[in-house]
Symmetry: C2
DNA sequence: GGGTCCTTACTCGGATATATCATGTCCGAGTTTTTGAGG
DNA sequence: CCTCAAAAACTCGGACATGATATATCCGAGTAAGGACCC
């Protein structure tokens, strides 16, 4: 039961991208610098988010990442699944069928109840993550920062590093 | 987001110990053979369960494992935490505090909202596991095996391998 | 025959190698910008 | 001065080392059972 550190980086990065004004962009290098993490490693996870159609990329100089859809339509679950993979944490190896005197497969048509219980728990976990949108997360973070110090630092960094989608011509 | 295979082995082993008659014992070797897994590896997890006071051990020849308390008082959560460790899956590294222009620690007195959301989900996960007792699991497994083939195989194996707690004198 | 002691064999417990996956890094393909020349 | 084209630089994307953790294993300490011996 362990989540990789990449999940935290991914969520923070998506949250930061969510506060950009319309058409704003940030490069992977800027996101990595702001969070103090390895650029190459963060890039790996940003690519996973991009492959999952959560982020859109703009190539070339002055390029970068932006959200692929409104922050209201991106949930924490989307991010976690994109980074960690869609497989459930508990994978039943069906060891009840192993051992001596193996019974015919027909005896195990009913699903393993242990597996079922574990998956029920995981379903609850995912439901809780699905209920939290990135937009909601941004509101909570802003409310918790009531003296505005964190927001000021973020804005200063954005002013120095923000980019814009090329004007379509 | 991945659980080790030891969890499945541990749950199956505890479930098997739960169907023993009063005072019954099973050795780690017998449990490993029945489930078709590495004895040494299963032993490792049984020791973890023993350290968590879920299982009691009887040393010496004709020794083995038994439940340390009634099956109604052992939950899936107990087993998972004993095997995987008590730390939550998501561990906030506080990367919001890192990066350039680090703010004073006083600015981050409020907990990280992202961490809070992840922990909420994990709390739901654990609550679901805590709601399932081993006794309940045994009932479900028995109900799912309506033609009795699985139970017969289990009983045959038990008759050949069961032991008993030494009569206290 | 009964009791006591000793040997023995089996158990769990912890320390030790190996495999696998997450972490961290690198180089290459692609695209936009920029810059220069030409008209 | 404007247009066009070519080169360059910066971006993301995927393939490649490294380290930590889970997996698998082995050997040692401890204990109850079984047997032999003595009373």
């Amino acid at each position: 039961m362990k989540l990789g550190d990449g999940v935290e980086q991914a969520v923070h990065s998506v949250t930061m991208l969510a506060v950009l004004p319309e058409g704003g962009l940030l490069s992977a290098a800027a996101l990595a610098e702001f969070h103090g993490v390895s650029p190459s490693y963060l890039l790996k996870h940003l690519q996973a988010l991009s492959a999952a159609n959560l982020l859109a990329t703009v190539p070339g100089p002055k390029g970068g990442y932006r959200l692929a859809r409104p922050a209201e339509d991106i949930t924490l679950l989307d991010i976690v699944l994109a980074v960690e993979g869609p497989e459930p944490a508990f994978r039943c190896k069906e060891i009840r069928q192993k051992g001596p005197n193996p019974l015919p497969k027909s005896a195990f048509q009913r699903p393993c109840q242990i597996n079922a219980a574990m998956l029920r728990a995981e379903r609850a976990y995912r439901a809780e993550l699905r209920a939290v949108t990135v937009a909601q997360l941004v509101r909570e973070v802003e409310e918790a920062d009531h003296d505005g110090a964190i927001a000021r630092r973020g804005c200063a960094f954005l002013d120095a590093n923000i980019r814009h989608t090329p004007t379509s011509r």
